[in-house]
């Protein structure tokens, strides 16, 4: 008995070698799928199966000489297809897309030569967005075999590694790149601010008095009042940040409500309201009514500007799923666009705040000019008139 046990040990020496050095990886097969650009119902596929695996499973080396030739592979083409293809199922939206072989080739991988089955999967309808792939090849002969699936569709690659533990996967081949989408909306938002003079003029109107303090209100709109320069930069900057934040909060609210379809005001009303908001903001610099809480003005009028932003997104026919990404991105973009204008301007304004040029030339005359331009917009928008020469100042 003792001797017998020792012999058993010798027979199974394989266990003794400390760390077996394997020559190459275990068995893999590769399935590549692509949408047929010419036929929306069709996927074109390439299925690479190792000749070693095929030989083990069904015997490809007909003359048993230990060398598989192209002639032998060709002779086994039908047998290979009959054995391999039932191991792969492509389905989606309740329909199966039957697989038919279309050609045979050879591919080289790091661990040897592979038979290539070129095939098509033809669905009854358009290839579904959610593609389910079920993979069972070689499951009975090698539980460590893996099917490595790659789907190339609409500029995206999605993939999965399938085996007995997880034989199926569902790939969303229509999945857009959310990050890219987000970035594109950030840029849209920035652009919308930079190319929208009405928003810019509104912000500018709020910015101009931020480096000054109104000591005495003017008695008439033409008297000018008594403006003193602020002493320190940061309190003024902080005040401006509050203004911009108030504006952002309110316009985000109406932008979202509008894009999601909860508010729907005629664009003529919205655009006129925006023009009116610019008049009010600029006029407040000439004849200050609100001097302490400028952010409240910004907050209040932000609602109407938000509705204006929404019109920029309305033409984009957004898919519902992308809504959050696009709204978020657009808002971030609007914010970046605002800050990029406001930050340099307030520094400039702070530098020249003590000059009469700033108090009179910029604050008073500038605000009058803004009122004038915005009034023309208001007339143009409210009455749907075309005013000659205003084209260069018309929001795109």
């Amino acid at each position: 008995m003792r001797r017998a046990r020792a012999l058993l040990v010798l027979a199974s020496l394989v266990a003794l070698l400390p760390v077996t050095a394997w020559a190459h990886k275990e068995s893999d097969a590769y399935v590549d799928l692509r949408l047929d650009p010419a036929n929306p119902n069709r996927l074109l596929g390439q299925f690479d199966i190792a000749l070693r695996d095929l030989d083990f499973a069904i015997g490809v080396d007909s003359n048993h000489d230990g060398a598989i030739t192209w002639g032998e592979v060709k002779a086994h083409r039908e047998a290979i297809e009959r054995y391999v293809l039932p191991g792969l199922t492509i389905q989606g939206d309740g329909l199966t897309c039957p697989i038919t072989p279309q050609g045979q080739m050879i591919d080289e991988h790091s661990d040897g030569a592979y038979d290539v089955i070129l095939f098509q999967a033809l669905c009854d309808k358009e290839v579904p967005d959610k593609l389910t792939i079920v993979y069972h090849l070689f499951q009975q002969v090698d539980p460590y075999h893996r099917g490595i699936i790659n789907v190339y569709a609409r500029g995206q690659t999605s993939g999965a590694v399938l085996g007995p533990q997880n034989p199926s996967t569902t790939l969303d081949i229509n999945r857009p790149d959310r990050w890219r989408q987000f970035k594109s909306f950030v840029i849209d938002g920035i652009w919308h601010i930079w190319t929208g003079p009405d928003h810019l003029l509104f912000i500018l109107s709020l910015l101009l008095p931020s480096v000054l303090i109104c000591r005495r209100r003017p008695r008439t709109p033409f008297d000018g009042g008594d403006w003193q320069p602020v002493e320190r930069f940061w309190p003024a900057a902080l005040e401006l940040v509050k203004v911009i934040s108030g504006f952002t909060v309110s316009h985000s609210v109406t932008l979202s409500l509008s894009v999601l379809g909860f508010i729907d005001l005629p664009s003529r009303l919205v655009e006129s309201g925006i023009a009116l908001s610019v008049i009010v903001a600029a006029f407040n610099n000439i004849y200050p009514i609100v001097t302490r809480r400028a952010w409240l003005v910004a907050f209040a009028f932000g609602f109407i500007h938000g509705l204006g932003f929404a019109s920029a997104l309305a033409g984009l026919r957004l898919p519902a799923a992308a809504m959050a990404v696009s709204l978020g991105g657009f808002n971030v973009g609007v914010e970046i666009g605002q800050e990029s204008v406001v930050m340099p301007l307030i520094m400039l304004a702070f530098a020249v705040r003590q000059t009469a040029f700033y108090r009179i030339g910029v604050l008073r005359v500038g605000s009058w000019l803004i009122v004038l331009v915005a009034a023309l917009w208001l007339i143009q928008r409210a009455f749907d008139l075309l005013i000659p020469g205003l084209g260069f100042l018309t929001p795109s």
Binding site: S12, V14, L16, K25, D61, G71, I106, H109, A113
Partner: protein
């Protein structure tokens, strides 16, 4: 279109098989695409008989185990990892039974061990030993698992359990391989020399196994000539043995003999481990194909990663360190590898990566392992000294203190 290009490429340049990146249609029917096991090989002929027995006696677990073991042995001899899965498939129905028959679980544990799934292998082996405390094969495999994971105490106990068998060769080899890595390499060398005459009566696999341990032992003792002699003898006994090729190749590279290393592995470039040594040798020689072969090796590692195989992290860490020159990633791989296996070569690569990455503290687990095992291998001892020196330079105040 690319098919046409491939075809055109093939017609112009033969042989077509070299480094194809896209599918092609071979130009001639007699073109050999792949070598596979041939019936001129006695082991392959034996498969047919074993498969026959297995399919005729579906209720006999031993027929399944015999076929499974034959696949496993063949896979190990040729380095073809596909045979692990094939061996597993044969015993799978038996493993599903409750309780699974012990011989089937034993093969399963060996497969798990071979795939570097040491945790699961140990679990299975402990399960067997709970049911059959005298199961020699289970103790032997357990000793292997414990040793690979650097748990020399439990490994020694497992080897000792084998002494019950009347044949001292196996427990002797088992204990000698442990002595060799625990500061008793001289004892190991003596013991192996005593065992060798007895081994000569056994099959070549056993002989080669003993010679392999002798080679390692000599190397750990710094006896290059002895190591060389034993490696050569082992390879004469089992020519083309993938494990020996890698070990002997590493030894030659360490001896600054890249030309000899290249000649050793050149004919086995289909093997990932041999090919890796080939690229190391090419790099050492400044051969023009180094860059191309480095890229090819990187593709092979990528192919392993795609399927979720991480058993080669030790090899990959060395590759990333010495050929891709990315010490930070190499250190990451070496640390991940250390969580799985802690043999001398694993110690070595973690020390090398930690030094190159300028993070000597990352090698502290190795220093601890070295302090507890007293491994004498000069290569590892020298690296550890360098790590100690770097640590002392970094924080002289904390000398002797344990880092968190």
């Amino acid at each position: 279109m690319h098919r046409l290009l491939a075809l055109a490429g093939c017609l112009v340049a033969l042989p077509c098989l070299a480094n194809q990146d896209f599918p092609f249609v071979p130009s001639r029917d007699d073109m050999v695409l792949q070598t596979v096991p041939s019936i001129t090989d006695a082991r392959v002929r034996a498969f047919a008989a074993l498969r026959n027995d297995w399919s005729r006696h579906p209720q006999d677990v031993l027929d399944a185990v015999k076929l499974s073991e034959a696949y496993l042995d063949y896979g190990r001899d040729t380095g073809d990892a596909r045979y692990l899965g094939r061996a597993e498939a044969v015993i799978a129905p038996w493993l599903a039974r409750l309780p699974p028959p012990i011989p089937a679980v034993l093969v399963h544990a060996t497969i798990l061990q071979s795939r570097h799934d040491f945790t699961e292998a140990r679990l299975q082996l402990r399960g067997i030993l709970a049911r059959d405390p005298d199961n020699a094969q289970a103790w032997l495999t357990l000793a292997t698992v414990e040793q690979v994971q650097g748990d020399v105490g439990p490994a020694r106990q497992a080897c000792a359990r084998l002494l019950d068998s009347s044949d001292p060769l196996i427990p002797g080899g088992c204990l000698a391989s442990l002595d060799a890595v625990t500061g008793h390499a001289i004892n190991a060398a003596h013991l192996l020399a005593v065992l060798w005459p007895q081994a000569k009566a056994e099959n070549v696999a056993v002989q080669s196994w003993i010679q392999g341990i002798q080679a390692d032992t000599a190397d750990y003792l710094g006896d290059a000539a002895g190591a060389e002699r034993h490696f050569r003898t082992a390879l004469q006994l089992t020519p083309g043995d993938n494990f020996l090729l890698a070990e002997y190749g590493d030894f030659l590279l360490d001896q600054k003999r890249p030309q000899a290393a290249l000649e050793l592995v050149r004919d086995y470039s289909q093997s990932d481990t041999s090919f890796l040594r080939q690229v190391y040798a090419e790099a050492a020689l400044g051969a023009p194909q180094t860059a191309a072969d480095t890229a090819e090796m990187a593709r092979r590692f990528a192919a392993l990663e795609v399927r979720g195989t991480y058993a080669y992290r030790r090899e990959e860490a060395g590759f990333v360190l010495f050929l891709e020159h990315d010490p930070q990633r190499a250190l990451q791989l070496a640390e991940q590898n250390w969580t799985v296996q802690r043999a001398p070569q694993d110690m070595r690569v973690l020390l090398q990566a930690a030094l190159a990455a300028g993070k000597p503290q990352a090698a502290e687990p190795v220093l601890e392992q070295l302090a507890s095992t007293h491994l004498q291998w000069p290569i590892v001892v020298n690296l550890a000294d360098k790590v100690h020196a770097q640590l002392a330079k970094q924080s002289p105040a904390s000398l002797g203190q344990k880092h968190p």
